[in-house]
Structures are given as C-alpha cells and as structure tokens.
Symmetry: D2
Subunit: 326 residues, 4 copies
C-alpha cells in the first residue's frame, strides 16, 4: 500500500490518506493470501458453500411472504465511504433525454433516461475477493501482475459471483447493549456477538449470511455523522470467530466498511478486510439497512441478493431482501 498511497498522494488526496493509512512493513503476521479448499480455479471462496440443497432448506421455511428491503437509496449528495477520504468520485445521476420544455403539451411521446456514475462501493454493496489482497496477490494466488488489467481484474470479479440465496441471521449488537448506536470506533468482540445471539435466541449455522447491526443507520444520511474513519464495526477477533468457528459464508454490517476503524494494527490499515477477503475467501456486505429487521425483532430469514455481474469489479451495488422463516 505504501507506494500506491504515495503515488495517490502526489495525485491529490494526501492529507486525508496520511491520517488514515498506517505504515505497512514488508512482513507481518497474517501476511499471506489463503489457498482455496475449493481448488486452484476458485475465485469466489466461501460462496462455494451454497448448493441447491442449502438453498432449498431455507426457502422451504419461508413463512408469510413478507419482504424486508435491506438496500439504501442512491442519490446525488449521499454519504459514502471514500469521496472525501480518498478523492474518489461521488454518486452521480445525469439526464440523457428529457421531454421537451415549454409546457410539454405539444409532443406525443415523452422519453426520459439517465446515466449513473458511481464507485462500486457506494450504497449497499458487496465486496468481492479482488477488493483486498496481500503483497499484490488475491485469495487463491492470482497476482496483480498477471490478472489486473487497465479496466479490471480477470479474477474474482463481481461477474463471477452467483446469486446468493441462503439462511440469513441478523445479530443486533446495538439492541443487546441497549444503545441506539455503538460508540465511535467501537470494536465488536466475540463476547458481544455471543451475548447478542443469546439474548435474541438465535443460533448460527454453517453457511449463514451473518449481518451485524451497530445502529449507525439511525444516523443515515447525515454525512457529518457517518465517517469511515470513526465507525464502529467488527474486531478482527470477531471476524475470525465468525469465519473460522461459526463457518459463516458471508458477513455484513450496517456501516460503511464492516470493521472498526481506525485499525489498531500499525502494520495494516484494514486488517479485517485483508483477513476475510485475502486470507479466508469470505465476501461481505456493507451499508445494509437493518432498521426494520431490528424493530420487528426478525433475526432469521431467507437472505436473497444478486450482485450485478460487473466484469472484473471488486464490488457491486446490491439491494438484498430478507424473508422471514418459520
């Protein structure tokens, strides 16, 4: 990261980056990408846990046809992780065609359309395994030198991702702790997760999509209160517990970047990102809207979403749904 950050700094967003990125020495614990148990050609990691049987198991438990919408609105001026921090582009929508002006009465057919322009990590979105690597390599070994072209990755892009249909579990940490929102930069512990699961009476199973609620969406869409740099989120230990002990398939949270920031590891500015994506092959979802699930105390559901097949992309906007099960 060191050099690319230097290069970026020369290109303009130096100050914010300096505050954000810790030094990244050449060697550190957990500095090797993982090898996929699904073979040398695997590009999607734990998503391989899905099968017709796993999907059927949760779909047949659907209870009443009520659908919870877990996706955010996308609009000009919306908060995002990275525009102020990194100089990344903001969400934009532009009209391409509009009905004629001048009263509008004189034309038969009135045709409108528009273009959008956005960071793929804007709004509710999934991070693919190409989003973070270690030492220039992705999970399962593909290197930037071999697999990164000018316009995207030949490996682990969003186009390789299947639709996701799985058991979903929401862990309402904020509610379990009796707060509207966790404190700034709070790092959720394994005990926090266990405690919340116990209070809400939910058990995790292999292959789950596990969504963690911090309460930060109660602040949406106030840009002054939603900063990547000070967000609460998963600790590395909690991520490890979910990935290794509970064998979760996909993680998610109602914040801008899943994990607690800033990192406490001076060698890695985003240790949960690199651990999950590069070491373990676990994809995750950010900026989830979990407020209705929380209000209705719905902790278990069929989770359904389909990443757009953006060829070579490290992420995709999505709008997942949760359908309660019996």
């Amino acid at each position: 990261m060191k050099r690319s950050m230097t290069q970026l700094a020369k290109l303009g967003a130096a100050a914010a980056l300096a505050a954000f990125v810790a030094a990244a020495p050449a060697s550190a614990e957990g500095d090797k990408v993982g090898k996929s148990p699904w073979g040398p050609k695997d590009e999607i990691g734990t998503l391989n846990m899905m099968s017709d049987a796993s999907r059927m198991e949760i779909l047949q438990r659907i209870d009443a046809g009520k659908v919870y919408d877990l996706g955010l609105d996308l609009f000009v001026g919306m908060p995002d992780c990275c525009s102020a921090a990194f100089g990344d582009p903001t969400y934009q929508m532009y009209m391409l065609h509009t009905p004629a002006r001048g009263g509008g009465g004189e034309e038969l057919v009135s045709h409108s359309s528009e273009a959008i322009s956005m960071n793929t990590h804007t709004g509710t979105h999934i991070d693919t395994l190409s989003h973070f690597g270690l030492h220039g390599k992705l999970f399962n070994g593909a290197s930037a030198d071999e697999a990164l072209g000018a316009r995207g990755w030949a490996k682990s892009g969003a186009d390789k991702y299947p639709p996701i249909v799985a058991r979903g579990v929401m862990i309402d940490v904020a509610k379990a702790k009796g707060v509207d929102v966790l404190p700034a930069s709070y790092a959720i512990t394994v005990d926090d997760l266990k405690d919340a699961l116990a209070k809400q009476g939910t058990k995790l199973a292999e292959g789950d999509v596990v969504l963690v609620r911090t309460g930060q969406m109660g602040l949406w869409p106030d840009r002054s209160k939603l900063s990547l740099f000070t967000q609460s989120g998963l600790s590395l230990e909690a991520a490890k517990w979910l990935a290794e002990e509970r064998k979760s398939m996909v993680l998610g949270a109602d914040n801008l970047g899943l994990e607690s920031f800033p990192s406490t590891n001076p060698q890695n500015f985003a240790p949960v990102h690199s651990y999950l994506l590069a070491e373990k092959g676990v994809s995750f979802i950010e900026l989830l809207w979990l407020e209705e699930l929380s209000k209705d105390e719905v902790y278990e559901f069929a989770f359904i979403t389909s990443p757009l097949k953006l060829r070579g992309a490290t992420g995709s906007p999505i709008r997942p749904v949760a359908i309660p099960v019996k």
Copy 2:
C-alpha cells in the same frame, strides 16, 4: 418528442435519430396517460398487485433450490440499445485504486476499487413508469414541468420500486415456432403467445411476471447483430392482451427494447413503451437471459429481483433469478 429530438439533433446524433423517430403529431389514438386504480399517489402502477399472500403463494411452491440467473454480464465494449443510436454513453468501468506496480511484493495490503459509468438502460434492466410519458406527463398525471428536476424525476423513479417476488412465466415463442431466433423486426402476435403457451402447457394468471423469448440472446454479445432498430419483439396487440386480458403485472423479453422495431405507427416511434408505461402503468424488463430456462424447458418459476433504488431514475440494472416451482 419532436422538439427534443430536434434539440438533440443539434447536439450531435442527428442522422441516426432521423432514421428512427417517426413524426409525432399533437393528437393520436392512445395519447393520454392512464389514471391509476391504486389512487392519486400511486407511482408504481401494476406492481401494486403484489401482496404478502401473492408472494407466499409462489414461494411455497419452490421445488428444489435450483436458481436460474437471468442477468447479463456488464463489460466495456458490451452491446447496448442507445450509444450508437443516440450518442448515449457506453458502459465503462474505471479503476480508482490498484496495488502498487513493480513486482507487487513489497506492500502488505493490496487494495483495489473502481467506478462504473452507465446508462441505466444497459444490460438486464427494468424500465420504470417515468421512462415514457405522453405529452409531457407520466402515468397517473405527474408532469415534467412539476416533477422533473435537473437530476431526475420526483415521481415514479426506481427508488419507489419494491423488490419483485412473483410468479414468473416464460413464453418461448422462438421454440414454439421452431426457430433459433425470430426474424428481424418480427412483431409477436397474440396468437403467437397463445400458441406457445399451449405448446408448453402453461397458463397465465393475474399478477404474473411474463417473460417472452425471441431467441436474440443467442446472438449476444455480437454488436453487429443486435440492433434496437431491427429487433423482433412484442406487437402492440400482444402487449394489450397481456396487460388487459391476462392482467400481467410485469413484462419482459430477451431483446434490447421489448417491442418490435421499427414502429409501424407513424405517430409514435415506441407505441408499446408508451402504452404499457404511460397508459397502463405496466413496468417491463429488457435484455433478459432466458437461454437456460429455454434449454431446460422451465416455464414457471418464482421470479425474484430488486431494482437498485436509484433516486428519480427511469430504469435500473437488475439481475433477476428464477427458481423453479412444483
């Protein structure tokens, strides 16, 4: 349309438009927008047909957890409806961050991300009711003068659209006619639909998502063979039969623009668009991938998709799934 086309022509894409757009006189049969039976505040038309009960009815019939992916890949250089024809922007993806060059070994964390830029009517997508109006008004009466801002519509935008969970039916017209692909500009008739339904043994019901297969996706992604101007698709009569007789909720097809082009009505260059969206409040989906459904002869399924909530947009890219039912 006349004036806005003239204005657009001045701005550059005159020749193609001249070939495409028929004259649009001030008065014609079917020239008034419809009034919603769901009340004066309705912005989504027939999508109001969905209920917990309607969703539950199809979800409980899910058979085996197999998922058909109905969405196309999105990539630089992909075919689209409107870039050559109207000068509209093509699909683009740009890298924002990449791992440092130079061997890649010296940096711990390797971070990549990208931006996309696209016409919302690119790839598999849904057209919302704001996409086409008549005389400057949308279905249910909102006018461009009142509801169209510089950056989108305050009415009937994709952000107003619910997730769609409904019974889906695929009508395989190409297979029923024994061809790989329907002839250029072929307009599918009511009899074509009835004949195909009879051959495949499927019955339509109120509230269905009805997807029509022309076979054109067999040509994907050959840009030289996929042109909006000469595509086969629904005739106005067939669209009317589906909307009025069969009370379908949403329509769709495996082509660039649902209906047969060019229009045979000199007064309206897209009569099915304006009929469905502006008169009847029926949304529809374009560029569906129906090839696997056709190959496996899957004609009935749970259809699930969630338009991205792009505020004020006339369309949204989607990636629907079809899950067979018993």
Copy 3:
C-alpha cells in the same frame, strides 16, 4: 431558482443549499435580461468588442516573449466551488489503457491513455452567458423552454466563444491594501479598484480583460480554506463600474466565484453573476492564478486564451497566458 432548488433538495444536497440560497421573489430590481447592442442573433455579448485592430494593438506591444501561466493544475482531490455545496461531481481522471504489469520488459509498445470527468466550472474557467439568466431567459432573450435541451444550450454555449486576445489588466487589490489575502466575504468596492489602479499606475481602457486579485490563491489548494460561501470578491457596485463606466470586455478573479459571498441581497443569491451575464452580456473568468503577476508587479499584458468549444456548455476550463507589453 426556488423551485429547482427544492427539486435538487429532494435529490439530496438540501442542507448546504439552504444555507446558501436566499429567497427569490418573483420581482426585483434588475430582474430583466439585457438586449444585446450587437443585434438579436448575438450570443456572446461584450466579446464582440474584439476586432483584428484591437488584437493587433496589444499584440504589437509585446515586449520580451516572457509568458505568465494563469491556469491551475487539475487533479483528483482538488478544491472546487460546488461539489460539497451542491453535490456536483468532483474532478476525476481515470486510466483507459496502461502498459502491462509484471516488470514491463516484455512488451514493445507501451500505450497509456485516460478519461477525465469534471464540472466545466472546475479549475481556471470561463463562465459563458448561458450560465446565469433571469426568469428562465438568457442575455438577449433566449428562453430555457426554447433553447435548453437535455444535453445543453442551443444559445450562448462555449462553442460560440471566440479565442480571446486582448489587453489584460490585473488590479492587485490585496497588494494595494497591504494584505496577503482579503478578509472572508469582503466585497471589493469601486474605491478599492480606483485606489489599487492609482497605486500601481495602471489605467483601464475600453475592451480590457480586467483581472482582480484578492490573494486567495495563496491558500490553494487547501480545501478547508477555500469556500465559495465565504470568499471575498467583487461587489455589485464594483462590477457595475467595470462594466458600465470602464466598459471592460471580460472580468476575472483569483477566487471560486468572482463576487463576494454570501450575497447581501435577499432576493438574489448571486447578484454579480446575474448582473454581468444576464443583464450586461459580460463573461468572466474564475480561479485565475495571478501570483506570479503580483510578485513581478506585472499589471498590463496581452491576455490570450481559447475556451474549449464544448457545444452548449455554460463554461469551459481554460489556461490563459499573460505576455507583458511595453
């Protein structure tokens, strides 16, 4: 402005706008667009003052071939007038093609290119007469209903602008007042201009390009210190004196938006903009780099710049030069 601001607010940037825009009642002093003395077809206003003779007069006085560069760098993360304030897009540059990674030694030809995306009012730029109107009309009467298409203005776009070659005069108000930079929101008076001209021994002439220095570029590129909302700049009286008494052809300043903000007129949030562009047909230049001219005490020069002929645009990035004269 009222309604479009409301519409924009719905689309997302409400809070900032509310702080910025004063109420705009339907009638006010100075609320009618001007009629051009250069005839009903004129779209460029005072730029008609240029002639071969006027250009020759200044060009033949060029002294020594030294060129002052008055343009700013454009870079990702640069300050701008309008991204934070209005949700407008920031300056972006994206790579389209890059040399292969992996050591770079194995390929003969290494080809790079890139795309840019920007508000045309970013960096050093000229505002054309289509940028501000009154009651939906531009200088010389063209109305939005008749001349504004989905993709730009048919009247007074940057494509209509000639290259500008004229006598330039820099008025160093900051230096005359003995300060590095004028106070926040300071409104430069007619006396300030007269005093500075007297101190520097410069006389204005008809047809001049008059550039006013506030000293704010000493803060460039610190985004936290360069805000449109609190910038010093011309008062309406000073603008009137330059346009009407001194018959200047083009104005300019080293700030984000020429005039002092916020406006003291509750009926008009940008009275100098609407006065110069809509009433008087005077174009102007923002974000000029005048630091070297100031340091070298160069107050008179040949001013040369060419707006990009962006069809229908309300502004264009430029990089003017000043060449001292004897």
Copy 4:
C-alpha cells in the same frame, strides 16, 4: 502491448483490437526509449527548445491581429479515435443544474451548469510523452512500475507542459497534390513534404510547430468516413525527417492519429507514435482544423496554445490559434 491487449480483449473489445494490433515481439529495431539532451529530470522533450527569445521572435512578426481557430467543436455524438475501436468512452456532456421547468417565469435567478466526460484524446488535442513508451518505459527512462499510479503518471503528464508559443508552419500536402483529401491509409513521404514546402514557398526552421494537412477534416464530422484504422498521415520516414533533419519542436495533423494506419511494421502498431514520443521526445497534436489556413493559403504564423494542466495525463484537449505573421 501483447499482454495488455489480451487483458483488454478479455474485458470486451477483442475483435476490433485483433484487426488493429500487430504482434509485438520482445526485440525490434528502435525499441529503446530516448535519453533527453535536456538532462535526467526532463519530462517534456523538445518543448525545451522554447525560450523568451524564440517566442519574441515570432510574436514581433505578427501582422494584423487576425486569428485562425484550429480547434474542433466537442459534442455528444462526435467522431473520435477510440470509442468503437477500443471500447473507450465517448464525449459526453450532462446538465448539473437547469432553470426550473414550467414556463420559467416565476424564478428570479436561472442557473445552469454541466459536467463533461471525455477521453483526453478526443477533439483537437496534444499527445504528451507519457502517451507511448517502449517496454514499459517513457522517454528519458521513467518506468510504469515506478511512475504510473492508479490515476495517472507522475512523469510527463500534461500538467508539466508549458504554454506553447512558437513559429507555426502548415504544410498543405493535400493541396500540393491537387486533391481534396489524401487516399485512405496514404503514408506521406519526405518528398511529399519537400514538394509541398517548395510549392507554397515555405522554409522550415529549428523549433517550429509543423502542422501537416491531409484534407481529412473536409469529411468532419461524418463518423462513417473518419476511421483511425484507414487514415492517411505521416510515414515514419517523414516523421524522422521533421524531427531529426528539420529539428521541429512539435508536430501536428488534421487527422485522428498523426501517422498513417495501419502500420506496415508487424512489430509495432504505431511506429510514429513510439518513435516521436518515446525515442525523440517530440509531442504532437491531432485533429487540427486547418481548413481556413488552407483556403487563405496561410502557411506561416504565430502558433499559440495551452494544454490544460491535467495532472498525470497523457494528453489534453486544446484549442490552438494561428496568427499570421509578416
């Protein structure tokens, strides 16, 4: 090029590229980047030939203040080198703010602005030394591994380029040959240049900006007739003669890509580009509008242009002017 083209091909524009790019073996004549005679820190090559004296020499010869505009309009739907060929983005302009609809009479201030999005090699533009290298290195030795970040080059970007004020010479090859336009793919020879110079009575001098007219702008803006792949332009020998024998500072032409295409060298798909930019440090200008100069038989002039300082860019749109001299 081989690998990056392969990568690009995977990302979508394979067919066009295959027709365009010849094989590029690892070693070939002329395969090493040049070393600058202006020292190890030089990034702009022959532009160092400019001095106050060289500028003054041409400026003092200006004759009558007439200005020729050598820049093209930029508009939605305009022809370009690379959108169809490489999947590169087309020129786009989008409105950001517009006066309220609805008659437009009720608002005082009517504010419009827009964004543009474009390949920097669109319209009249200059190619900088970072546009083409050899074996991953630029002129004077900077390597992609060291100097290319995700968002541009740290070396030889357009931001390093000075305003250009120099003697300009137009060589009207089409006129000398008595044709409106040179034949498709015609490669202009040294004799063609000498013959045209003799016929028009012009002599070249060291440090000139030399603009070559093929007549192709007579076809502008017909996209069906303006193709990079079949354009006439400079032969490698003619480029060498201008750069080495005549010591020209900058070259230019009225075509999409300076040189004749396709290349006759199977080892290099753009040998004039790599020769001038990577071996000799000579920048050049494409898509010049030379029609008025030709009609008026103006062959010698002061040439003035200022590339936009796009940080790290391999090119910049420009709008040069030519002012005749005595």
